[in-house]
C-alpha cells in the first residue's frame, strides 16, 4: 500500500473544500455501517456513491478514492493475528504449567528472630505489623573495607518529615561517620512516590557500587528490588516503614501501638463518649494504614464513641487544613475529639480555630508550632506523641547500616520500639518563650534508637562511634 494513496480521500476535502463538502443534504445522510463482517464491495460501492455526491458539490479537481483503500482486514492478516494470539497464550500456558503457586515476597512467619531478643525488648513487638523472622545478614561480610558508600533511595521529598530526616542524614550523620572513616559518601535518589522508578533507582544504586541501600517508608512493591540487591550482596535498610522481603532490615517505631495510644488518650479525654474525627495520612501508604489500624483497635473498647469521619491530610499541613475545614463545614454536629497523624496537626488546629469552634481533645505529634500553641494555651487537652520522629529514626537507621557493614550480625528482620509521649512539662522544657505557632520543624524524643538500645538487636554489638549522636530538636545533648 502506497502511503500517499491513502490520503487522497481526505486531503482535498480537508484542505480545499472543508465546509463545502458537508452541505445539509449530506450531513443527514446515514453513516455507513462499516463493520468487519460486511463485504468490502458493498461498502466500497456505498462509499463511492457518497463521495461522488460530494464531488458534484465541490469545486472538482478531486480523485475517486482507490478501491483498495477501503478493503477490510485481509484474511492473511487476520490469520497472522490469530496465530500471534495463540502463540502468546500458549507460551503463557507453558510457563504456568511448569511452576504454579505463590512465589517470592512472603513475609517470614517464623518467630525465631524474636526469641533471640531480651524479653523486655520483645514487649515492644506487641501488635507489630512488620516481618519478625531472623535476619539473613547474621553472618554478613561486606565486599570491601570502610569507608563505605550508602545509596539512599528516597521516595518523596515534599513535606517537613522528609526534609527533617534528609537534613539529619546529610548534615549531621554523614559528616560524623565520615570523620570516623566509616562512610565515604551518600548518593540520594528521589522517585516522587512512583514505585517502579524507585525500583529502578535501587537497582542503579546497587550497580553504581553502593555497599548498602537505605530506603524510606517503603511498600510491598519494592520487594523485587530488595531481592535484587540481596542477590548481589547488598543489604537494604528500611526506616520508617517496612518491606516484607527477607533482604531488608526494617527500622521503625511500633506504629500500630502508636495509633492505639493516641486514640486511647483522646477517648479518655472525651469521657468515653461522643463524636471523633480521624485525620489520617496517605490512604494506601503502609505506615499510614498501620496507625489507623491501631486507632480502630483501641476504639473497640469505647462503644459509645462514634467515628464520625475520616479525612486524609496527606501528612501536609495545607491539605489537612483544607480537608478538615471541608469536613467541619458539612458536619454541624459537635466534634468531641480529634486523632491526627503527625506532620499535619498545625493545619488541623488552624482549621478548627478558623471554623469558630473550640479545640476539642486532640493529639499532637512533632510539629513545633502545635507544641508552641499548647504552651500558650495549657488548658487545651492534648498530648504530644512521638510516633515517627524523622531525625531520630534516620539516626537509628544510620547506626544500623554501619553495624551491618561491620558484620555485627542483626538478629531480627525488624527493629522497633515503643512510642514515647511528652506532657506539658516536657514540652515547656524544650519550647522557648518566643516560639512560633506556625513552626513546622520537628520536636524529637529524648531517646529513640540509642546505641545502647540497638545493642540488643545484634549478635556482636559495638556502637560504631562509641557514643550517641545528638538529634537537633530533642533537647538532649546525646
Amino acid at each position: 500500500m502506497d502511503p500517499t494513496a491513502r490520503i487522497t480521500i481526505i486531503s482535498p476535502l480537508k484542505t480545499d473544500t472543508d465546509d463545502r463538502v458537508l452541505p445539509g443534504r449530506l450531513r443527514f445522510h446515514p453513516p455507513l455501517p462499516l463493520t468487519f463482517g460486511q463485504s468490502a464491495s458493498t461498502h466500497a460501492a456505498r462509499a463511492q456513491k457518497l463521495i461522488a455526491a460530494s464531488r458534484t458539490l465541490s469545486t472538482g479537481q478531486m480523485q475517486a478514492p482507490p478501491m483498495k483503500e477501503l478493503t477490510l482486514l485481509k484474511r492473511t492478516q487476520l490469520a497472522l493475528l490469530a496465530v500471534l494470539a495463540a502463540l502468546v497464550l500458549a507460551a503463557a500456558g507453558c510457563a504456568g504449567s511448569n511452576q504454579n503457586g505463590a512465589g517470592s515476597g512472603t513475609p517470614k512467619s517464623s518467630q525465631q528472630g524474636l526469641k533471640s531478643l531480651p524479653s523486655d525488648i520483645r514487649a515492644a513487638y506487641t501488635d507489630f505489623d512488620g516481618p519478625t523472622g531472623s535476619s539473613p545478614f547474621a553472618n554478613f561480610k561486606p565486599k570491601q573495607s570502610p569507608p563505605w558508600t550508602i545509596g539512599y533511595a528516597s521516595s518523596y521529598a515534599g513535606n517537613t518529615w522528609r526534609s527533617g530526616s534528609l537534613n539529619q542524614l546529610q548534615n549531621v550523620l554523614v559528616p560524623a561517620y565520615k570523620k570516623a572513616g566509616l562512610v565515604d559518601k551518600m548518593i540520594v535518589t528521589q522517585s516522587n512516590l512512583n514505585d517502579s522508578t524507585q525500583i529502578q533507582q535501587i537497582r542503579q544504586l546497587v550497580n553504581q557500587g553502593a555497599d548498602i541501600i537505605l530506603l524510606c517508608c517503603s511498600s510491598a512493591a519494592i520487594n523485587p528490588a530488595v531481592t535484587y540487591a540481596q542477590a548481589r550482596g547488598v543489604p537494604v535498610v528500611t526506616f520508617s516503614g517496612y518491606t516484607s522481603a527477607e533482604g531488608s532490615v526494617n527500622v521503625y517505631g511500633n506504629y500500630v501501638q502508636g495509633g492505639a495510644a493516641m486514640a486511647d488518650f483522646v477517648a479518655k479525654q472525651m469521657g468515653g463518649k461522643g463524636n471523633m474525627l480521624l485525620v489520617t495520612g496517605i490512604p494506601g501508604a503502609a505506615s499510614s494504614d498501620s496507625v489507623d489500624r491501631g486507632v480502630k483497635k483501641a476504639l473497640k473498647k469505647y462503644p459509645n464513641i462514634k467515628l464520625v469521619g475520616t479525612v486524609a491530610g496527606q501528612w501536609t499541613d495545607q491539605i489537612a487544613k483544607t480537608e478538615v475545614l471541608k469536613f467541619l463545614s458539612t458536619h454541624p454536629q459537635k466534634i468531641d475529639g480529634i486523632v491526627t497523624h503527625s506532620a499535619q496537626e498545625i493545619g488541623v488546629m488552624q482549621a478548627v480555630l478558623e471554623s469558630g469552634r473550640k479545640l476539642p481533645p486532640m493529639t499532637i505529634g512533632g510539629e513545633k508550632g502545635a507544641a508552641c500553641y499548647w504552651t500558650k494555651h495549657p488548658e487545651w487537652k492534648t498530648r504530644l506523641f512521638n510516633v515517627w520522629p524523622p531525625g531520630s529514626e534516620a539516626t537509628g537507621a544510620m547506626s544500623i547500616m554501619v553495624r551491618i557493614l561491620q558484620g555485627q550480625g542483626p538478629k531480627v528482620q525488624s527493629i522497633t520500639r515503643n512510642l514515647t509521649e511528652y506532657g506539658i512539662d516536657e514540652v515547656r522544657a524544650i519550647t522557648p518563650k518566643g516560639c512560633d505557632v506556625n513552626d513546622a520543624t520537628w520536636i524529637e524524643p529524648k531517646d529513640w534508637f540509642t546505641e545502647k538500645y540497638l545493642d540488643n538487636f545484634f549478635l556482636r554489638p559495638k556502637a560504631p562511634l562509641g557514643k550517641d549522636i545528638a538529634v537537633p530538636g530533642s533537647g538532649s545533648t546525646g
Binding site: S54, L89, Q200, A286
Partner: protein, 338 residues
C-alpha cells in the same frame, strides 16, 4: 518530489517522520547513559531496563490509538486502570488461588478492554467530552483500587515473579513487547486504522467519507484496553505485589511519554514507533538523572527536566513540521498526514 517517489527511506520518513525528534532525543540519552551509567549496556542491565520500561511502553501504546482518534482524547484514566489491573490480579485472582497465566492475562485484557469500551461508548455514543469521561474514570478507578485494598500487599505466582526478574535480554517481557509491536503493525495495515487516522484529522470529513465514527472510536478504545491490560500484567511482574496507591502519578508520566513520542493529542498523527521511543526517552531521562546526586531536590529536578525536554521537543517538532509542509507540496495539495 512526486507521488511516485516511494523509495524505502522516503516511505519510512513519510510514515514515521513525526518520530524524528524523539528518535534524536533517544540517541542523545543513550550517549549520556553510556557515560553516566554504563551498566545499562551489560546483559544484566539491559534485561532489567527492558522489564522496568515495559509497563510504561505498553501504557503509552495504549494511549496512542485514543490520541490518534482526535477530539483531544487523552485517556487520563490510564494510570488507575493499570493500577486496577494490578490490584485486581493480586487481590482477586491470585489471592483466590487462580495462578494460571492464561486466566491472568485474559482477565487483565478483559477488564481493561471492558472499561475502555464503556469509556469509548460514553465519548462516541453520548458525545460527552473525552476529558470529562476519562477524568471520571480516573477518579472512579482510583477509589475502587483503594476499596479493593487499603495498603500495598500481596504476592504474585512464581512465573510472574520470574517475569520481573529476568536473566537475559530475551525475557518474557521482551516477548510481550514484541507481540504488542507486531500486533500494532498488523492493525496499522487495516482500513480500520486508516479510518481512525482520518477521523482524528477531521471528524466531519471522515463522516462524509463514510467512516463509521462510533465504531471507530470505540475500536480505538478497545485496542487501548488490550495494551493497558498487558501494561497491568507487566507492572504486576515488576512490583510482584498489589499497590492501590499506584496510578495517580502514572497518568502524568504516560502522557509525558506520549507527547514526547511526537504523538499529537489533536488527533491523526502518531504510531507505535513514537509511543515506544517516547516511553524509552522518559525512562532514560529518569535513569540518567538518578546517576546525579541532587539530594532532596532530585524528584523536582526530574520533573523540571521532563517539562523542559517536553516543551523543547514539541517546539523542535513543530518547526520541523512547518518546514516539511513548505518543502513538499504534492500535486498542488498540501501534505497533511505524517
Amino acid at each position: 518530489m512526486t507521488v511516485k517517489d516511494s523509495s524505502l527511506l522516503r516511505r519510512f520518513a513519510d510514515r514515521h517522520g513525526y518520530a524524528a525528534v524523539p528518535l534524536g532525543l533517544l540517541v542523545c540519552l543513550l550517549a549520556l547513559a553510556a557515560v553516566r551509567g554504563p551498566h545499562l549496556f551489560t546483559s544484566d542491565g539491559a534485561a532489567y531496563a527492558i522489564v522496568s520500561a515495559a509497563p510504561l511502553i505498553m501504557a503509552t501504546m495504549a494511549l496512542t490509538p485514543i490520541a490518534m482518534a482526535g477530539r483531544g482524547g487523552v485517556d487520563l484514566a490510564i494510570g488507575p486502570l493499570v493500577g486496577f489491573v494490578n490490584v485486581g490480579l493480586v487481590f482477586w485472582l491470585i489471592k483466590s488461588g487462580v495462578t494460571s497465566p492464561l486466566f491472568i492475562i485474559a482477565f487483565a485484557i478483559g477488564v481493561s478492554v471492558l472499561f475502555e469500551v464503556v469509556q469509548g461508548l460514553l465519548i462516541a455514543g453520548l458525545r460527552l467530552q473525552p476529558v470529562i469521561v476519562t477524568l471520571s474514570g480516573f477518579l472512579v478507578l482510583a477509589g475502587v483500587n483503594l476499596m479493593i485494598t487499603d495498603r500495598p500487599d500481596g504476592m504474585t505466582p512464581a512465573w510472574l515473579t520470574a517475569w520481573g526478574t529476568p536473566t537475559s535480554v530475551l525475557s518474557p517481557a521482551t516477548g510481550v513487547l514484541v507481540a504488542g509491536f507486531v500486533m500494532w503493525t498488523l492493525i496499522a495495515r487495516t482500513s480500520f486504522f486508516h479510518n481512525l487516522r482520518v477521523m482524528g484529522f477531521n471528524e466531519r470529513t471522515a463522516y462524509a467519507s463514510g467512516v463509521p465514527l462510533v465504531l471507530t472510536r470505540v475500536g480505538a478504545h478497545a485496542i487501548a484496553g488490550v495494551y493497558a491490560g498487558l501494561a497491568g500484567v507487566l507492572y504486576t511482574a515488576v512490583i510482584a505485589s498489589g499497590d492501590p496507591a499506584f496510578g495517580q502519578q502514572y497518568t502524568l508520566i504516560v502522557v509525558t511519554a506520549l507527547l514526547l513520542g511526537g504523538i499529537s493529542v489533536g488527533g491523526g498523527r502518531g504510531g507505535a514507533l513514537g509511543a515506544v521511543v517516547g516511553a524509552i526517552d522518559v525512562f532514560l531521562i529518569s535513569d540518567a538523572l538518578a546517576t546525579f546526586d541532587f539530594g532532596a531536590g532530585a524528584s523536582f529536578v526530574v520533573q523540571l527536566v521532563y517539562g523542559l525536554i517536553l516543551v523543547l521537543a514539541l517546539a523542535v517538532g513543530t518547526v520541523f513540521a512547518r518546514s516539511g509542509l513548505r518543502r513538499r507540496p504534492r500535486d498542488g495539495r498540501v501534505e497533511v498526514l505524517a
